[in-house]
């Protein structure tokens, strides 16, 4: 194995702390069934799905510059795939969630071919139109309840686990595992060669192109990957809800507006942003839930304040001021220490 004078290191002091904290949090969360009540588990599972959705949207809009307001197309697609596979083809719900991923990626191919012809605001509107088309199509499927929707049959739900409590544990762990997998996959992607290209595209598309990066191809790949992840999370969300209808499945408010809010206040174009954003979003939601529609106004006010005072989001503000990164993504040039070279002689 040949090794040069120099090598690159990803980890920094702050990222070592970050990874340790994230690892510890993951363990605490994995043990939640032993310390939390039903309400807590349900809330946490919902939080996980939003972390995953926002992280995927961040990859799409924050890194690849594809500002989609139509990711509800894939959330709904995943949800409907779950119900179709379970009800019509007798597939186990968990298997259905895993199948929803690849189908989501496949569906993303023709959608991308169509909407990639559009730029900027037209692209955004195009994605929304696609999601609306999906909604209308879903409402035409009478076997899945047409416009009024359908519930997951009680027999299927009961068959998932021996008791209600175990089933709730199972869905909770599933949500944690899937979100962990989505985040892990995003980190792995960003640390890879593709991630280097993607980060360059995030910072400057023209320069990326002029330096040999096939921008269109990378965007296409990212669109497919987010289609994969979003459909899977969509299936999970509706396994937790146990009921689906075109309006809830393809809701621009739930699956796009909130997700954009989360990503923007947390810090777009940074992997930590959506996690911070989701925490803030749910804290606000829990604190303001009793205020009725005033709660949405307050959310809007928070969004405006953050956008004015910290246009790069809360994590963006922190990261730029202190140079922190919670996850080891950046490459730091270091002189390769001679003694640690593989096969190196002292």
């Amino acid at each position: 194995m040949s090794q040069g004078k120099y090598q690159a290191e990803h980890a920094t002091h702050s990222s070592r702390i970050g990874v340790t904290l994230i690892g510890a949090t993951f363990v605490v969360l994995a043990l939640a069934p032993f310390w939390g009540d039903r309400q807590t588990l349900r809330l946490l599972a919902e939080i996980f799905t939003f972390v995953a959705l926002a992280s995927l949207w961040n990859l799409l809009a924050g890194y690849a510059g594809l500002v989609s307001v139509g990711q509800q197309a894939f959330v709904g697609l995943g949800g409907y795939l779950l119900f179709a596979l379970v009800i019509l083809l007798d597939v186990h719900p968990i298997a259905a969630i895993l199948i929803a991923g690849p189908i989501g990626a496949l569906v993303a191919v023709p959608v991308a071919t169509l909407i990639f012809r559009l730029r900027g605001a037209y692209f955004a509107i195009g994605t929304w139109v696609v999601a609306e088309v999906f909604r209308l199509l879903a409402s035409q499927i009478s076997a899945l309840g047409g416009g009024s929707g359908i519930s997951l049959p009680a027999a299927v739900v009961i068959a998932m686990a021996p008791s209600r409590q175990l089933r709730e544990f199972e869905t909770y762990w599933l949500a944690l595992a899937l979100t962990g997998a989505v985040l892990g996959a995003i980190v792995a992607l960003l640390r890879s060669r593709h991630g280097l290209a993607l980060t360059a595209i995030r910072d400057n598309e023209v320069a990326a192109q002029s330096n040999g990066i096939d921008v269109t191809r990378i965007k296409f790949i990212v669109y497919m990957l987010t289609g994969f992840g979003t459909a899977m999370i969509g299936a999970l969300i509706f396994l937790m809800k146990l009921r689906i209808s075109p309006d809830t499945a393809f809701s621009v408010n739930d699956w796009t507006a909130f997700v954009i809010f989360i990503t923007v206040i947390g810090g777009i174009g940074r992997i930590e942003g959506p996690i911070i954003g989701t925490i803030v979003f749910f804290m606000l939601r829990q604190a303001l839930a009793d205020l009725g529609s005033l709660y949405l106004l307050m959310m809007g006010a928070v969004a405006i304040v953050v956008m004015l005072w910290a246009p790069k989001g809360l994590w963006g503000l922190i990261a730029e001021r202190f140079g922190w990164q919670a996850l080891p993504l950046q490459r730091y040039l270091v002189l390769a220490p001679k003694t640690e070279q593989p096969g190196g002689k002292p």
Binding site: R193, L196, Q209, S210, G212
Partner: protein
């Protein structure tokens, strides 16, 4: 000998403004060419057309005997055409080191780890070694210009298009830049250099072209071109400090 890079009868207009009017340009292998001209003469547009970020209305771009008029920028970069941007365009959220790694790895189509040594050396040559792990967005204008050059060189170009890299440099920095560019050229890289800092240009190029109103109005030996009546006229009597 066939030119390495040639623009053939290139025309381009933005609305009513003609920025290139049947322009012909031929760069020989190993040559260093300078282009001057007043603001708005169409200099940067020519670079855009050569590098593939601007599509010409008419004409062809030939590189190493191949018609590349319809090739996207990334493919041209991989073939060996590198450019620096007049307004530096760093990947501002990435480190200086990552900036050059991107260019080296993707233009060369090679594994990331295989370019680390070359990139570190390049940063050293361009005076950025001590800032390798700094965020590119936090650099001063001078360092951004250095990075612009380092990144273009990282692509291992056959042709280097330099767009006003000397502006704003001190006398000393400018001399260092000229040395670096001469050095790059000695390594076999052909150069087209757009520059307002005429004395820097004259120190490094073999041939000088004057672009005005989308046409080349003078061409030839740098020192005689700079004294030509055409140049005196378009610069309205501003004496060249050659």
């Amino acid at each position: 000998m066939a030119p390495l890079l040639a623009l053939e009868n290139i025309s381009k207009r933005f609305g009513a403004v003609v920025v290139a009017d049947s322009v012909n340009l031929a760069l020989a292998e190993g040559e260093a060419l300078g282009i001057i001209g007043p603001n708005g003469a169409g200099k940067t547009t020519l670079f855009g057309i050569a590098a593939g970020t601007v599509a010409p209305d008419a004409g062809r771009v030939i590189f190493a005997g191949e018609d590349i008029t319809r090739l996207p920028p990334e493919r041209r970069c991989r073939k060996g055409i590198a450019r620096s941007f007049q307004v530096p365009q760093p990947f501002s959220g990435m480190t200086v080191f990552e900036n050059v790694v991107v260019a080296a790895a993707f233009a060369g189509g090679v594994r990331e780890a295989s370019v680390y040594d070359a990139c570190a050396d390049l940063l050293d040559r361009c005076g950025l070694a001590d800032k390798a792990n700094k965020r590119a967005g936090g650099l001063t204008l001078l360092d951004r210009k250095r990075l612009e050059l380092a990144r273009a060189l990282a692509t291992k170009p056959r042709v280097l298009l330099l767009d006003e890299v000397a502006g704003g440099l001190t006398e000393h920095e400018c001399a260092a830049l000229v040395t670096l560019i001469k050095d790059v050229r000695a390594g076999g890289v052909s150069i087209v250099w757009i520059e307002h800092v005429v004395h820097a240009l004259l120190a490094a190029v073999d041939r000088l072209l004057v672009l005005h109103g989308g046409k080349f109005i003078a061409e030839g030996d740098p020192r005689s071109v700079i004294r030509s009546p055409q140049v005196a006229e378009i610069y309205m009597g501003i004496a060249a400090d050659a």
